[in-house]
């Protein structure tokens, strides 16, 4: 930490070495990535010098790195110079009513049970702000403010709480952690920041949905959540509604920091555009998510329902540094058509008596490939560490693939590690059994799949779980028979 501070200081006291010649009035950065692009982004956001230097340092590291190729996914080479790294948050084109929206999309919304107001918000129909989310968000902010909870956009936090950002940015996911994390550190657009003070139990689920002031930050999002001693927070990311985005490459970074006796529960529903039935288009989702259980008896729990994206590369991890700290990972990853997912977790046991639990449920259909990749690492000092891993795969049809890549490294003989893995197929027998009871095929698949994923879905907050169930069924619609 002290070394980092020193470096930071050096940077902040330095003059800019490079001038730039980019037109600051432009709404968009020119295509491609260079130091100038990074400066442009930072200037656009009126960032302090230290943050610019931090970004530049990340950029220089990224330049020296190569894209990782070990994941079990295949895609055409990404041309990083053909991407626009910054465009000003645009007001979505407002339309006057839902009848102007693609009827297919409305159908999907209805199947998911999304309310009319919500449908309007998602499709950009102008909504009377007083009755909709603004008022909700305002009361929300007041309640949080009274408890001393900070919940705002990342940009806002840089301005309002620079001391926290300086201290914790990159403390869990260092800027040079991996290729995509370095890229994000250089060019991140915006994201969320959250701080829960000592001993405060956040009384509601914090959801990005309520944070309405950060528009269009999807591509290179950055999230930082800090739970101070003895605090608790449950955070929801994403939305079950299908998210379309013109940016093909997404590289987000999420950092969680839990101090002594603190607990962070982080839930994600990811439903980015997966591409069409023939595998054309779709989002490449390369995400780095990591939580640090810094203090003793701290706990971090990841729950994810991944149904979208053409490619998912994502390993929400826990570094269990504090003694008696605990990490959990619950995941359902569904792939259909030509989707590819390589997802899992890392549990790094450093402290004594640390515990981790992994429950991963993969579902593959169509011609998709679904891989679980997980690492359990018990370090030398981690006496009496315990891990339990369960990795199940469910196959639908005979043209998809399910793969499991578990890595286990044990440096302390007192460790206890259990790993269970199963692979099963949705049987014709199961479907016929349901049909014979009057349950049609679509409902039968939904029932079977939700039963299979139950242990993970149970971890989600109630309302989210109901939506996630519908989402699973919808993603797999028509994939049997």
């Amino acid at each position: 930490m002290s070394k980092d501070n020193q470096v930071l200081e050096e940077f902040t006291s330095k003059e800019y070495e490079h001038g730039w010649n980019v037109n600051l009035e432009a709404d968009e950065a020119p295509k491609g990535l260079s130091e100038d692009t990074v400066r442009f982004i930072s200037a656009k956001k009126n960032e302090p010098a230290w943050l610019l230097e931090w970004r530049l340092k990340a950029y220089r590291q990224w330049e020296k790195m190569t894209e990782p190729m070990w994941a079990n996914v295949h895609h055409p080479q990404i041309n990083y110079q053909d991407i626009i790294y910054y465009s000003a948050p645009k007001q979505k084109k407002s339309i006057s009513g839902l009848d102007e929206v693609d009827p297919e999309l409305i159908k999907t919304f209805e199947k998911l049970g999304i309310s009319i107001t919500e449908q309007k918000r998602l499709t950009g129909v102008a909504v009377d702000a007083v009755i909709d989310s603004v008022s909700v968000a305002t009361t929300f902010k007041e309640t949080l403010g009274e408890l001393g909870i900070i919940f705002c956009s990342f940009s806002e936090a840089v301005k309002e709480h620079p001391e926290l950002i300086k201290k914790y940015l990159g403390s869990v996911v260092p800027m040079n952690d991996n290729y995509f994390a370095a890229l994000n550190s250089a060019v991140f657009s915006d994201g969320s920041f959250c701080y829960i003070p000592k001993g405060v139990r956040c009384p509601m689920e914090l959801s990005t949905y309520f944070r309405i002031n950060a528009a269009n930050t999807g591509q290179f999002e950055r999230t930082l959540i800090i739970a101070d001693e003895g605090s608790y927070v449950s955070y929801l990311e994403g939305c079950t509604a299908p998210m379309r985005d013109e940016n093909q490459l997404h590289a987000a970074v999420v950092e969680l920091y839990a101090m002594k006796d603190a607990e962070i529960k982080y839930s994600t529903v990811q439903n980015w555009y997966p591409g069409d039935k023939n595998g054309k288009g779709g989002i490449y989702n390369f995400v780095t998510k990591r939580g640090l259980c810094f203090g003793d008896h701290s706990k971090i729990s990841w729950t994810q329902v991944e149904t979208g994206s053409a490619i998912t590369w994502k390993y929400p991890s826990c570094v269990l540094k504090g003694d008696y700290s605990m990490g959990e990972f619950y995941s359902v990853a569904v792939t259909n058509n030509y989707q590819q997912a390589d997802t899992g977790t890392k549990m790094i046991h450093i402290g004594k008596n640390t515990k981790s639990r992994i429950v991963s449920k993969g579902i593959s259909a169509g011609k998709s490939q679904n891989s679980y990749r997980g690492q359990v690492h018990i370090m030398k000092r981690a006496s009496n560490a315990r891990n339990f891993s369960q990795c199940d795969s469910l196959l639908m049809g005979d043209q998809c693939g399910a793969h499991t890549f578990p890595y286990i490294d044990v440096e302390n003989q007192t460790a206890r590690i259990e790993h269970e893995a199963t692979t099963s197929k949705i049987g014709e027998d199961q479907i016929f059994y349901c049909l014979q009871r009057g349950i049609d095929e679509e409902a039968a698949v939904a029932l079977i799949v939700n039963g299979y994923a139950k242990e993970v879905l149970n971890q989600l907050p109630m309302e989210f779980a109901v939506e996630a169930q519908k989402l699973l069924a919808l993603t797999l619609e028509g994939s049997v028979g």
Binding site: L435, R437, E441, L447, N450
Partner: protein, 251 residues
Amino acid sequence: MLSIKNLQARIGEKEILKGINLEVNAGEVHAIMGPNGSGKSTLASVLAGREDYEVTCGEVEFNGKNILELDPSDRAAEGIFLAFQYPVEIPGVSTINFMKTAVNKIRQYRGQSPLDAVAFLQLMKEKMKLVEIDQSLLSRSLNEGFSGGEKKRNEIFQMAMLEPKLSILDETDSGLDIDALKIVANGVNSLRSKNNATIVVTHYQRLLDYIVPDFVHVLYKGKIVKSGTKELAKELEAKGYDWIKNEAALV
């Protein structure tokens, strides 16, 4: 109620049903008996609409409808219930949840509104008593880790819940000890009425001591070779199936 005329069916290239004729009226219990491989379970599966079997000839009319044209789930909604010989496991789905889905899907087919939680629970409690089944079993994942007896009792519970017009019991007695058999038979008997009918498919006469049939049919090599009353079952018990085989060979 059910009228089967010259029903022929095969699986792959193998002919299994070679012209079945059977009439079942409301209020009746029919037993289908026969040696292994005679086509008993195939008949049950074909009536329920299992896709593995191809119907090559014949008609099956159920309450005036040609059911061969209906999907299995629509046949179920029309009132045909099959108690499976080997009920499958569905992990993570409780019997309660499964039945709630089934009951409401069938109600939807019939143009009825779905049962709310209270009404459903009431219906469930009532039927649980009827088949002497414990609620803890119904909260567990469907058939997962159930004993043979529990699986069969669960089938009868589902039958009670769905109140079918025609119930087909496929070897419901297999794998049951005498106590379980009695409980299952009591359940079936208490569900009998003048408005519904039952087809009991069995290899052994034993079950028919408890579920007394009005008619007994012997299936052999894909055809009904002999029909009679419950006395026929007793005769089979005494003489074995060889007697029928020889008689059939003479025809």
